[in-house]
């Protein structure tokens, strides 16, 4: 069956080599999408459009927005959102869950190791210079022991789906991953928009994320303190994720503080309240390492708190995530994660990596330079879809530019094959069309690893585009993990 024979509103739905979340290659809907498939044929396009407008308005009035940098006017935008859910079966999810748990435990052991004994470096599994040359390596963390040896409390790992249906890990975000509030609020909106579909499908709830996060943070209090004071440290109202910071603080019932609300005295951290100063024990920080303390890191910041790092080293306050975790999500070290898992856990990775060329290796570099038009090149320290070359969509000039940059600084780049991300159904101009998607589940690591079923599905709303980042025309979808 060719895609053209699909019924309305699926007539312009594109099926080809990419894995499709909704349809089998022969054009029949997969069983877990059957209910949505039928509903879309019954609902008139106007009715769907009306529901879409109601959802957008609800996002705007609730102020569920993100900030676009570098524009004077209209700096707040609602998060682009597609109405149709991305659905994952319980079987697929169980595998993802196991794979992520394994990966996070191994990465945490890796961080503890490189900031202490460095056994994996001595064993030659991971090259020493690759760790020390990473721009997110923090020598200030050397020899510091953290409560329960936990470095990565909150992770958002980006997964994509290979054309053969396997889930692959594209990226680990171990510093200050964002987006979880969009996962939570879009679920609330979806329940209003498609109540009957929820009942038909049987969707696992995700609403306990804030309380799970709070419980996780609580286990990390210094000296095992029983009832710690926990705060969320935000860079402030002009940060692109500010909505998320307020949302999480409110849902957890903790104070949302800015750098100017905190004071360090005698290696203890205090916050300024109307009743005087109050001691702070755990900081869920949403400020990057660089900006957290002008005395220890960048001196030109006013976002952070002078002296905070010393209080941290003294063990009087816990910061989550720990500082220096960015070394483990460096895009070049990423290539070593399968070996890291094997080294610490003695297991094979449950979720595979995307093949990655390390460009400091001469043979790989020659191969990559000869095949730039087929590959994706990424700068190792960048995120948000910036500093990237997508070979098949690039011009001759761009490729020359990247070739020059790679030769000048091979450590700063990696290359990967151009991946056909899987596609899922999106509501576009009264039709249902296929768009590329990825998946970012959120992983919490305290006394145990907790992953709420689902995550943020990001979608490249522009036709044919493979870039899902919200700063570059991407949007989100609600992600449903089914009971069955």
């Amino acid at each position: 069956m060719s895609p053209a024979e699909l019924p309305a509103p699926f007539r312009s739905y594109q099926l080809d080599v990419a894995w499709d979340e909704m349809f089998s290659p022969d054009g029949t809907p997969r069983p877990h999408y059957q209910a949505l498939y039928e509903l879309m044929q019954q609902l008139p396009a106007d009715e769907i459009r009306r529901r879409k407008q109601a959802a957008d308005l609800s996002f705007l009035h609730q102020g569920i927005t993100f900030t676009v940098y570098g524009r004077e006017e209209g700096t707040e935008r609602i998060f682009p959102h597609d109405l149709l859910p991305r659905i994952i079966t319980n079987k697929e999810w169980t595998l993802i869950e196991r794979g992520l748990e394994q990966r996070i435990i191994a990465l945490n052991l890796f961080l503890k190791d490189i900031y202490n004994e460095g056994r994996i470096l001595d064993a030659g599994i991971v090259p020493r210079d690759m760790v020390y040359s990473c721009k997110h390596f923090r020598r200030q963390m050397k020899g510091l022991r953290l409560p329960k040896d936990l470095y990565i409390t909150v992770t958002g790992t980006d997964l994509i789906r290979h054309p053969d249906g396997r889930f692959l890990v594209l990226e680990d975000n171990l510093r200050v991953p964002s987006g979880v509030s969009y996962m939570l609020t879009s679920r609330q909106v979806m329940k209003k928009v498609f109540p009957q579909l929820f009942q038909q499908c049987g969707v696992k709830p995700i609403e306990d994320y804030p309380s799970a996060l709070l419980a996780t943070l609580r286990t990390l209090a210094p000296y095992g303190k029983h009832d710690p004071t926990i705060v969320l440290l935000t860079p402030g109202v002009y940060n692109s994720a500010y909505f998320e910071h307020t949302y999480l603080a409110r849902q957890m019932g903790i104070e949302l503080v800015e750098g100017r609300d905190l004071v360090v005295h005698d290696n203890n951290v205090w916050m300024r309240t109307t009743a005087g100063l109050k001691q702070v024990d755990v900081i869920y920080r949403r400020i990057d390492d660089d900006f957290i303390d002008p005395l220890a890191f960048r001196k030109d910041t006013i976002l952070g708190v002078p002296g905070l790092f010393n209080a941290y080293r003294a063990g009087n306050v816990t910061m989550c995530n720990a500082l220096g975790t960015g070394v483990a999500d460096d895009k070049a070290l990423y290539a070593y994660v399968p070996k890291i898992i094997k080294y610490y856990l003695g297991e094979d990775p449950i979720l595979d990596n995307v093949d990655t060329y390390i460009l400091t290796d001469d043979a790989s570099r020659q191969h990559v330079l000869a095949n730039l038009d087929k590959l994706v090149v990424k700068a190792v320290g960048e995120s948000g879809g910036y500093g990237m070359l997508i070979g098949p969509h690039s011009t001759e000039k761009e490729r020359e530019e990247f070739a020059r940059r790679i030769q000048a600084d091979p450590r700063n780049y990696i290359a990967q094959p151009t991946l056909m991300l899987s596609r899922g159904p999106c509501f576009v101009d009264g039709q249902v069309e296929a768009r590329h998607v990825d998946l970012r589940p959120y992983i919490l690591y305290g006394d145990k690893v907790t992953i709420v079923p689902g995550g943020l599905t990001r979608v490249a709303l522009r036709k044919g585009s493979l870039v899902v980042n919200s700063s570059q025309g991407g949007g989100s979808k609600d992600t449903w993990v089914l009971y069955e």
Binding site: R250, L256, R260, V263, G276
Partner: protein
């Protein structure tokens, strides 16, 4: 509660109170214009500007009404209605986790409605509908606040901001009005002036309430008594100061602070003056001086509340 949060809630309340007051004042005067009062429009609008605390700059050639329009619509004018709403929202945005979602949604909705209005397009339009929407929106916001937010410390700071701003706005308005229209011992007012006294009462939503208390027989002394000293009318200065003192007194309990002594003394003194001074004495001593005293004391209360709760020096606090 974080000091910064208290600061934001306090200012949010002041900005909204100011927006509401400005909207009502301009609306009342647009209405008075219809009755063709003999004073020229320019003089009227000059007085409105003075009542809002931003008198027409000397030697300005633009008409006063242009300035009034700016006081309503121009986001570049600092105390215009539009910028008050924007500032209120910006303050609220910084403390979103401290307030109810309903409060945020209401103010956010108002902000988006205000933002749509283009200043340039409004030059010829009479902004009556816009002003009505502002008054309604701020009332709605107050109702939502009172019924969905915990009446704890944060709410008390909102009360303080609202009461302080209201007391100052009404005092300024009275001062400007009396300066222009009050003639001592004059029992025979011009019909046109009569309308202006009604306008003064309406600017404080007080006309109907005044009539209930004194009948429609308007006398400046009674109007002062009502707008300044009435203990039951929500827009009187006395009522606002009562509210201010109640909120300040509720604070130390919530914050367990012992630094509140000075600010509650100041508020108590102002309240006592408003409770026990007879109106004849105020008129005899000169109303301008009395109103000036109120402004000064409000300023002191603001400064000392900041010193106690928000802007205290760190070194003494660490040692304590």
């Amino acid at each position: 509660m974080l000091s910064r949060v208290a600061d934001s809630l306090y200012w949010m309340a002041r900005y909204l109170e100011r927006a509401e007051h400005t909207a009502r004042l301009v609306d009342v005067h647009l209405n008075l214009m219809l009755d063709q009062s003999p004073i020229t429009a320019d003089r009227r609008w000059g007085r409105v500007l003075a009542s809002l605390g931003s008198p027409l700059p000397a030697g300005d050639s633009a008409s006063a009404y242009t300035h009034v329009q700016a006081m309503v619509f121009d986001a570049a004018t600092r105390s215009s209605i539009v910028s008050c709403i924007m500032h209120a929202r910006e303050n609220l945005r910084q403390v979103r986790e401290q307030i109810s979602s309903e409060m945020w949604e209401q103010l956010n909705r108002m902000f988006h409605a205000v933002k749509r209005v283009q200043y340039e397009e409004m030059h010829d339009a009479h902004p009556v509908e816009f002003l009505a929407a502002i008054k309604e929106g701020t009332h709605l916001f107050q109702g939502v606040t009172d019924s969905t937010m915990t009446h704890g410390e944060g709410w008390q700071f909102i009360q303080i901001g609202r009461a302080l701003e209201r007391a100052r706005c009404v005092a300024t308005l009275l001062d400007v009005h009396f300066n222009e229209f009050y003639v001592p011992h004059d029992r025979h007012q011009e019909a046109a002036d009569h309308l202006e006294w009604i306008g003064l009462l309406r600017s404080c939503t007080a006309f109907e309430a005044y009539c209930k208390a004194y009948t429609a027989d308007l006398s400046p002394e009674r109007i002062v008594e009502f707008l300044l000293l009435n203990s039951e009318f929500p827009h009187s200065v006395r009522f606002s100061v009562d509210m201010l003192q109640a909120a300040l007194n509720a604070l130390p309990e919530a914050t367990a602070s012992k630094k509140a002594g000075r600010v509650s003394r100041l508020a108590g003194r102002l309240r006592a003056s408003l409770s026990f001074t007879p109106v004849d004495e105020i008129m005899l001593g000169g109303i301008h001086g009395y109103l000036d005293g109120i402004q000064r004391q409000c300023g002191q209360i603001h400064a000392s509340a900041y010193q106690g709760y928000i802007d205290y020096p760190i070194d003494t606090a660490v040692l304590a």
